[in-house]
Amino acid sequence: MTTLDVSETEINEACAKLKRDAVAGGYVLNSDTGFVERLVSGILTNERRYGYPACPCRLASGKKEDDLDICCPCDYRDPDLDEYGACYCALYVTRAVHEGQQALTSIPERRPGRALRRAKLQTQPTATHPLAPLPYPVWRCKVCGYLCARDQPPGICPVCKATKERFERFM
């Protein structure tokens, strides 16, 4: 495998889009623009190399179906933002980190290791009964009614930008 050169224009365009999407969704990017540009360059490199935007800080398998969880933004971003104030790469950070109220550090890997992922693939859960306990709590934005199923409500409602405390447990 070779390193595929990504042009400066491509990086700048991808950074601009990433920033727009982040702002629209209530997310915050790392304030170190050079760091962000190098991560974006890594995502673009992975997109060329593997055909999907795999996380630049994780080893992609080359099989998209095995790596959906690490396509940026990854499945682990929001829990990592909640627990550590940054995603695994530190591409996304919380407002507290952005404003310097919380230190930014390299964080532990939340994604299960290779062996566990393989074992999980072999034991795919079958459809559950509609009245079975929910795998995640459902949170409702009291401002706009946006619903999401996850461990914690998001920091900011992606639809109306209401803050976390405006969410209530719905199911």
Binding site: T2, G42, P56, C89, E109, G113
Partner: protein, 93 residues
């Protein structure tokens, strides 16, 4: 396997397993350079598939998550992630 070597003070066998696209890996590599330590590094994402698998097996023996960067000192001590303080202390920086 494409293992690169960086010259410096001999602090034992220092091996950095990294990804070419990972910025915490890049920071770790820069820090080792700053500390003037002699070390080897390999970009695991640039290896051919069989070599990559074998390298992952080696990494997982010291870091079961198989995450990056993984820094292995003398084949036994392992520092996972860009733990700046820990890395400085390990090399008396």
């Amino acid at each position: 396997m494409i293992v690169e070597h960086v010259n410096g003070k001999d602090k034992g066998n220092v091996m950095l397993y990294a990804l070419s696209t990972c910025q915490w890996c890049a920071k770790t590599k820069v820090l080792l350079g700053e500390l003037g330590v002699s070390f080897d590094y390999v970009f695991v994402d640039l290896l051919e598939s069989q070599e990559q698998d074998e390298t992952m097996d080696a990494i997982e023996r010291v870091n079961p998550k198989g995450s990056f960067p993984t820094l292995v000192i003398n084949g036994t001590r392992c520092i996972v992630g860009f733990r700046e303080q820990e890395i400085r202390e390990a090399f008396g920086g």
